[in-house]
């Protein structure tokens, strides 16, 4: 697919490119002409998408257009019938240890938090680190730090049923970040939240993106969330379409001189 020049990756990451900073960061995730059907339903039908290191890509589109399926592909939960999904240039279909990829390379946040109901917040975060090289105390400490980072340090001992939707979703984000993944994948993380909680959750993503340069692929219907992303792509009937033009006021100057890719449109 055609590359988009001058992406707005964080300065720290962009500096790994050429000295003038104008050479784009390499793609970290690529979906190349992927077809995936559930029986006779073609969920993805020739989908192509490239995500650069440090980029925040929003994915929107009507219900049933294949957004969750696309995210599942990126998380190696689903496998394409045709086409390739690549991580740092390597085809996932050729990876022998997909569980390592899921654990270390990507972090996953679901629409519904999907926390383990009988475990408290801290244990829900620690569970992602079981079986890694981290010691018991290191896991404990890191879970504490992560909960702190999502402003939930005081709720570490609560179970999901004792937390609000937004708090649960922030625990889920902490869990997804446990093993310092290169990419954070989120499927409508604010879909079930009221606007205030949603804003809170978006704030966590924004902070991560700004301070750590975490690559984010986020499915969202929410226009406010979409504006926080670097660019938004639209899925329709299993194909990527250009996003509708953004309100002129929100388009930053840096994006104005960027040539939009045929299938993608940056929004800021």
């Amino acid at each position: 697919m055609p590359s988009t020049p001058r992406t707005s990756v964080p300065a720290a990451l962009a500096s790994s490119g050429a000295a003038d900073g104008r050479v784009p960061a390499p793609p970290i995730l690529e979906v190349v002409d992927v077809h995936l059907s559930y029986g006779t339903v073609a969920a993805l039908d020739g989908t192509t998408l490239s995500v650069r290191e440090g980029e925040w890509v929003g994915v929107s589109g009507p219900s049933g257009s294949g957004k969750s399926t696309l995210l599942g592909l990126l998380a190696a939960l689903e496998h394409p019938d045709r086409g390739e999904v690549r991580f740092r240039g390597a085809d996932l279909a050729r990876k022998r240890r997909l569980d390592r990829y899921r654990r270390l390379d990507v972090g996953l946040v679901f629409q519904l938090h999907n926390l383990i109901p009988h475990l408290d917040a801290r244990a829900n975060v620690e569970i992602a680190m079981l079986g890694t090289h981290l010691s018991r105390t290191a896991r404990h400490r890191r879970a504490g730090e992560l909960l702190d980072a999502v402003d939930l340090a005081s709720l570490a001992g609560r179970r999901p049923a004792e937390m609000s939707g937004g708090e649960r979703q922030r625990v889920a984000i902490a869990r997804a970040l446990a093993n310092r993944p290169a990419v954070l994948l989120a499927d409508e993380p604010t879909g079930s939240l009221d606007p205030a909680s949603a804003a809170n959750v978006v704030d966590v993503f924004t902070r991560l993106h700004r301070s750590e340069g975490t690559t984010i692929v986020m499915v969202t219907h929410d226009a406010a969330v979409a504006t926080a992303a670097d660019r938004v792509v639209v899925l329709e009937a299993g194909r990527i379409h250009p996003a509708p033009p953004p309100p002129a006021a929100t388009a930053p100057a840096s994006a104005a001189d960027a040539a939009p890719a045929p299938a993608e449109r940056r929004t800021g």
Binding site: R100, F110, L119, L130, R136, R175, A176
Partner: protein, 373 residues
């Protein structure tokens, strides 16, 4: 949190179900252990009859139902004694009587007074009975104690009414010491078995090969069997062989029931938790780790059940020992081996019961699992 901690928390969440399943394991383990302990105790009781006295091996009638019904003629005893390599062959008649409520299974041992020393009897008080004395008896020291009898006393227990205690003896093992000895001819007359004995206690020459002598005796006497080890006793006491077979059968049934109940629980819990397992796979748990979780939960539950089961079994046999019909016959021994058997049983149940749930866990597709409501 550790992996083991997660297993405990998972089990703790479904407390009642975990407890009920552990009880099912406990009942299985209890059945297996109790059957084992009781069978071995009964076998030991029967074996004790065979092991009484000093002998390298014993010879009895082949394949009788109960060794006490074995018939060996005095001619056969003489023939055994003439077998090359045999130093001595003592003919012993053994009978069991219901002496009184506390001694429902009391052994009478008929041995000729001349054979007492060879048979390993030590007289600790009084003297031996006369060869044909009709009303003289010796008591094992434990029998004398429990019956409160001394040398010179006359017995009043009904079947031995009028017998005079002439001596107190000691044998090499408990069963013999809790019994009574009479002149062989007197016991033969009492039990209407003239000219026969129950078994022959054989000792071989120091340089003879015991196995070869045993084989030779069996070869020369088609109706006799020579046995030395507890495992061979089934050849002369078919009841022991049947007991073993019945024990194995009952243990298998107990095991199968345990496996089915535990498998059912683990499968139910697996199906309920498919989404949870899908999440674990999606956040990077390997197949192996997930299978370990299912297996670990099953093992943990089963081992807890085993501990309870062995305790149940101990209480149960304790109660059985007080049943009149089993008093003196059943004396359950619990040791490391018993606890080991309980543990093996529980681990066996866990492995079999977790097999199918583990296969399901290993083949779980995270994408599909996450779409489950």
């Amino acid at each position: 949190m550790t992996f083991a901690g997660l297993i405990l928390r998972n089990l703790g969440t479904r407390r009642l179900r975990t407890a009920l399943t552990a009880v099912a394991v406990a009942i299985s383990v209890m059945a297996v252990v109790t059957l084992d302990v009781v069978t071995h105790s009964l076998q030991a009781s029967a074996a004790n009859v065979l092991l009484m006295g000093k002998a390298d091996f014993i010879v009895a009638q082949k394949s009788v139902a109960d060794v006490l019904t074995s018939v060996v003629t005095e001619d056969q005893v003489a023939r055994v004694e003439r077998t090359p390599g045999v130093r001595s062959a003592v003919g012993v008649l053994v009978g069991a009587i219901n002496l009184n409520a506390t001694n429902p299974f009391f052994l009478e041992i008929g041995v000729a007074p001349t054979d007492l020393r060879t048979f390993g009897v030590t007289i600790v008080a009084g003297h031996a009975y006369g060869a044909h004395a009709a009303h003289e008896i010796m008591l094992g020291w434990q029998a004398a104690q429990s019956l409160h009898l001394r040398v010179g006393d006359t017995m009043h227990e009904h079947t031995l009414e009028g017998f005079k205690v002439v001596g107190i003896y000691s044998l090499n093992q408990v069963f013999g010491n809790a019994a009574a000895m009479l002149p062989l001819t007197t016991l033969q007359a009492r039990t209407r078995k003239p000219g026969t004995v129950t078994l022959t206690a054989v000792r071989v020459d120091p340089r003879a090969n015991v196995d070869r002598v045993m084989a030779r005796i069996e070869h020369d006497n088609a109706s006799l069997a020579a046995v030395r080890l507890a495992s061979q006793f089934g050849r002369v006491d078919r009841n022991l062989a049947f007991l073993s077979a019945a024990e194995t059968g009952a243990q298998i049934i107990a095991l199968v029931i345990g496996v089915i109940i535990v498998m059912n629980t683990m499968l139910l819990s697996f199906v309920e938790r498919i989404r949870e397992f899908g999440v674990l796979r999606a956040i990077g748990w390997s197949r192996r780790r997930l299978v370990s979780l299912v297996m670990g939960e099953t093992l943990c539950l089963s081992v807890a059940g085993a501990a309870v089961g062995v305790a149940f079994s101990y209480a149960l046999t304790g109660a059985l020992e007080h049943l009149t019909t089993l008093r003196g016959i059943l004396s359950a021994q619990y040791d490391v081996g018993t606890v080991g058997l309980g543990l093996y049983t529980a681990v066996g149940i866990a492995l079999l019961a977790a097999l199918y749930p583990c296969i399901r866990a290993a083949s779980l597709r995270p994408g599909a699992a996450l779409r489950r409501e």
